[in-house]
Structure formats: structure tokens, C-alpha cells
Symmetry: C2
Subunit: 310 residues, 2 copies
């Protein structure tokens, strides 16, 4: 057993690693239940949806949602539909971002991208189906839920929709595409990264906390944590795009740089980008302090975000 | 004033026409409120979203939702977010269906399609944004709502998500694309049409009724009505595609036939297709009988669906 206090300097402990793995497996099982089978009519779309959703994603976002909700005493069954919805939205965004009209990527998670396997039309529709399914999952509420639980579900759903919408994930992608070959200043770059990646990661943490019944104070701390790791995630992505191989990333590296996209590495160089990510990690860990040992798993996840290599 | 009883053989009366127009205007005003302004960051996506949403659509689906809910005594304010969501989903589906990778259409509602104006990437993202916004609108519930109203909102949202999903609208589009150049039998064609068009129209009527607080009996009648006009709508679309000009349709006619798509006209010819649509109109009107004068507006809308020329 690890020490009970959150030892923030240690490498990811075995116990934390095992807890993350256990949550990942639960998310995979829940996702399996939340989708129509591959044989459902029409088969093409269900094969395409499952191909991308079960392509070996790390399930970081749903695990963050579960960990955040459980850190404030939430009920796993109440959190799981939200966790599934978050992963569906993340996966849809990858399918659409990879399309020829967007980032034109052939490789994702070490496999050919959706449009390479199923064609462009089906890839667009598979993304649409995952986005729609995410909200379908959230809209199916148990008979036994009282008004308070129903209201919490709506709040988390609204947060998720906002983070995924035209001023969040979608808006970030629009600006990302427009940034190609253009000089972008720090404030604009941060805004773009926060929208493209940070908003959804932040919504995972915040939505999980709301579903977990967090009071105002813990919610504030968790929101600060989510905001910090959300931006850190994208900065690390920029670093990995510039330094890693296709094998470790499971996607084509160097694409952002060669496309002249605005990235932290382009603006600040590698060393400063890495330092910024470490600063955000410290900020995230500081935000968890008031949660004591309840913040342990989230602290481990923050380190995973910043110290990953793929 | 028209006679109070539903005179089902008369042409669309002036009073019914005026009621439909009034609802259309209210829907337009509500849609205006439910979207970020065109100047919101990032502007491109908000311009693209508004370009398609305010391109002169007939607002049939939201008006159906309002009429259905009001037919059972529902509250217009409770119905309006659902009506807006339905129109946003309909508009997103048109933007994506028109993409080069799908039906490759240059013209919609008499204007250049979204990808012609904003490029493919932004058109895909504008569709994504509208789909996401639809569920965002539904997830924002008034503070004052009690458990029953919250539950109704979830039920209508789930219905809408199902109708729009991989076994509804999206599934129908998948099969429609796969039908090009292939022989399709009546049962498969009907299933495809019901998924592609019927499901969403049915969900408008059923969701409106649920939000209006319909009891089991009226809900059954209205569901039957929605099912009939949903299929009728797509059959009439097939007829118009084969007979009308680009000017009256506002989109390129003859595309389904020239692409070898499965349509009622291709399978049954024009006369039999028109007769089928009339049979479905009679079925829809019969379903409204038990509602008496409360069904008047819905009867008018059914006639509008079958007797439109664009």
C-alpha cells in the first residue's frame, strides 16, 4: 500500500496505476453496453462507430470524470453515463478532425483512421452518431431519480454541451484550422488550446464533481484543477507532436509543425513549453491540496497527463 | 373564421395558414435567442451556423412540435426549446447531407450550400455545432421546473436523440448512400425512408405531446399521426425530386434519380407514389379524429406536408 497522504513528488505509484486501470476497464464495459451491437441495422454505421470507440483509447477523460465525482463522494453508477458520453464526444471529435477536409490524418491510435477504412461519408456519419449517442445516453435517466439528481444530470449535460460546442471544442478546431501559416500571439494560442482541448477536459472534471454532489468549495478547487490540466494536456500534445515517433503516438507526428499550425512549441520552443506544462501540473496539484487524500487519484491523473509519451 | 369542426376536405383555410405563420415567426425569434451572435468568437463558425439556420427554412418540424404539444394543452414556453432543438438537428443534417462526400449538393433553399460558402471543414463543423447546440438548448432548464417537468424534458430529449441517431436519421442516410445503383425492395425502402425522415418528424410530434403532458391515449393517436406524415413527407420528397424545378424546390432536382438512389418514384412510379402519400394523409387525419377541434392545426400541417410543391 502507498502512504495515505498524497505524495506529489513520487512517480505514479502502483496502487494509483491499478485504480486507473480498474476504472478504464469499467468504462470499456459501460461503453460496450451503451452502444447498439455491431449487427444492428444498418451495420456499416455501427461497425464504424465501434471501430473508433474501441481503438485502444486511454479513456483519460471518462476516468477523470469518475475520479472527480468519486473524490467528492459521488456514486459511480450516477457518474458512468456522463463518463461514457464524454468519451463518445472525444472520439467523434477525433474522427472529424482526422477527415481529409480537416487535418487529413491517416493514422490514429496506431490504426488507419475512420475515413480510410469506411470512406469519408461514413466517417462523418460515425462522428455524428457518436455525438448524438452521447446525449442519448445522458437523456436516459433511471425511474428512481428524484428532482435533485435530474437537475444535476441536466447541469452536467449543459456543461458538456457548452465545452463541446461552437465556443469550446468546435470553436477551437475552427481557429486551429485558421491558424495554419499565420502568426499567432500567446493570448490567442492559449484561448485556442483552452477551447480545443481544455474545455472538454475541464468539463469532465467539473461535470463529474457536479454529478458527485460537490459543494461550492470543492467544486471551485476541482474546476481550477481541471482548467490547469486541460491546458497542460494540449501543451504536452504540442511537445509530443514535435518529439515523438508515429509508433509511440499512434498518429502521424510533426503534422502541426509542418502545416504551420500555431503550437506552444512553435511559439516558445521545447524547453519553455515543457516548463509551462510543469507549472500547470504544480497548479493542478496545488488546487487538490484542500481535498487531502481524496485528491490522490486526481493527482496521479494530472501527472499522467503531463508525463505521458503518447 | 373557419368552421370549428375539422373540415378535412377543404383547402388549407386562412385561419390555419395564419396560425402556422405565427408559430413560424415565434420559432424564428426563439432560434435567434438560442444561438450565440454572429460576432461571437470564433466568428467563422457562428456565421456558418446562422447562414444555414436562417436560410428560409419552412420550420415545419418545430411547428409540428408546438402544434402537437398545444393540441394536448401544453405550455408554449416549455415546448419552445424542444422546437428549436429539432430545427437545429434538421439543419445540421442538411449541411452534412449536402457535403461533397455525401450527396454533393451545391444548392439548398435556393442558396449555395454551406461548404460552397465556408469550405468543407467549416461546413462539417457548423453541422457539428448545430447538433451540439440542440442538446445544449434542451439541457438548460428553468430553476422553477419540478421533477415531473424535468423528467418530461429528458423523455423528449431521449426520443429526439434516438430519432436522430444511428438507427434513425443517421442510419437512414447511411442506407440511402448505400442504395445508389442497387435494387431495393419495398420493405427496405420504407425502412430507410422512415429512418431518414420519418423518425425525426415522428419525434417532433411525439416529443411535443410528451412535453405537453399528453396522457396515454392522445399520445397513441399523435404517435400514429406522426408516423403517417413522417413517411408521407419522404414520399412527397421523392415525387418532387422527380417533377419540380430547382426554382420551386430551392435545391437541385432529379439528383436521387440520376444517382440511381432508391426512391418511391423509382420503385412504384409517380402515380402510385402520389396515391400512397394520399393514403398516408388519410391515415394521419383519421388518427386525429379523437382529438376533435384540438387536432385542427395538425390536420392543416398534414395537408401542407402532402400538398406542398417545394
Amino acid at each position: 500500500m502507498p502512504s495515505r497522504g498524497p505524495d506529489r513528488s513520487a512517480p505514479l505509484g502502483r496502487a494509483i496505476h491499478d485504480r486507473i486501470e480498474a476504472l478504464r476497464r469499467l468504462v470499456d464495459e459501460a461503453l460496450e453496453r451503451e452502444l447498439p451491437p455491431e449487427t444492428a441495422w444498418p451495420e456499416t454505421i455501427h461497425r464504424a462507430v465501434r471501430y473508433s470507440l474501441f481503438a485502444g483509447g486511454k479513456r483519460l477523460r471518462p476516468v477523470l470524470a469518475l475520479a472527480s465525482g468519486e473524490a467528492v463522494g459521488g456514486d459511480r453508477e450516477e457518474l458512468m453515463p456522463f463518463a461514457c458520453a464524454v468519451e463518445m464526444i472525444h472520439t467523434y471529435s477525433l474522427i472529424h478532425d482526422d477527415l481529409p477536409a480537416m487535418d487529413d490524418d491517416d493514422l490514429r491510435r496506431g490504426k488507419p483512421t475512420s475515413h480510410k477504412v469506411f470512406g469519408e461519408a461514413n466517417a462523418i456519419l460515425a462522428g455524428d452518431a457518436l455525438l448524438t449517442r452521447a446525449f442519448h445516453v445522458l437523456a436516459q435517466v433511471p425511474e428512481a431519480y428524484d428532482g435533485e439528481r435530474l437537475r444535476r444530470r441536466f447541469q452536467a449535460t449543459a456543461l458538456l454541451a457548452e465545452a463541446s460546442g461552437s465556443q469550446g471544442l468546435i470553436g477551437g478546431q475552427v481557429v486551429d484550422l485558421e491558424s495554419a501559416g499565420r502568426e499567432v500571439e500567446e493570448a490567442e494560442l492559449e484561448r485556442m488550446h483552452r477551447a480545443k482541448t481544455g474545455a472538454l477536459i475541464g468539463a469532465c472534471v467539473q461535470g463529474g464533481a457536479i454529478l458527485g454532489g460537490a459543494g461550492a468549495e470543492p467544486l471551485r478547487h476541482l474546476s481550477r484543477y481541471g482548467r490547469a490540466i486541460g491546458l497542460a494536456f494540449q501543451i504536452v500534445d504540442d511537445v509530443l507532436d514535435a518529439t515523438e515517433t508515429a509508433e509511440s503516438l499512434g498518429k502521424t507526428p510533426g503534422k502541426d509543425l509542418s502545416a504551420g499550425k500555431a503550437t506552444y512549441v512553435r511559439l516558445f520552443g521545447l524547453a519553455r513549453s515543457r516548463a509551462l506544462a510543469q507549472e500547470l501540473l504544480a497548479e493542478a496539484l496545488a488546487a487538490l491540496e484542500p481535498l487531502g487524500e481524496h485528491g490522490e487519484l486526481l493527482a496521479g491523473l494530472a501527472r499522467l497527463v503531463v508525463e505521458r509519451n503518447g
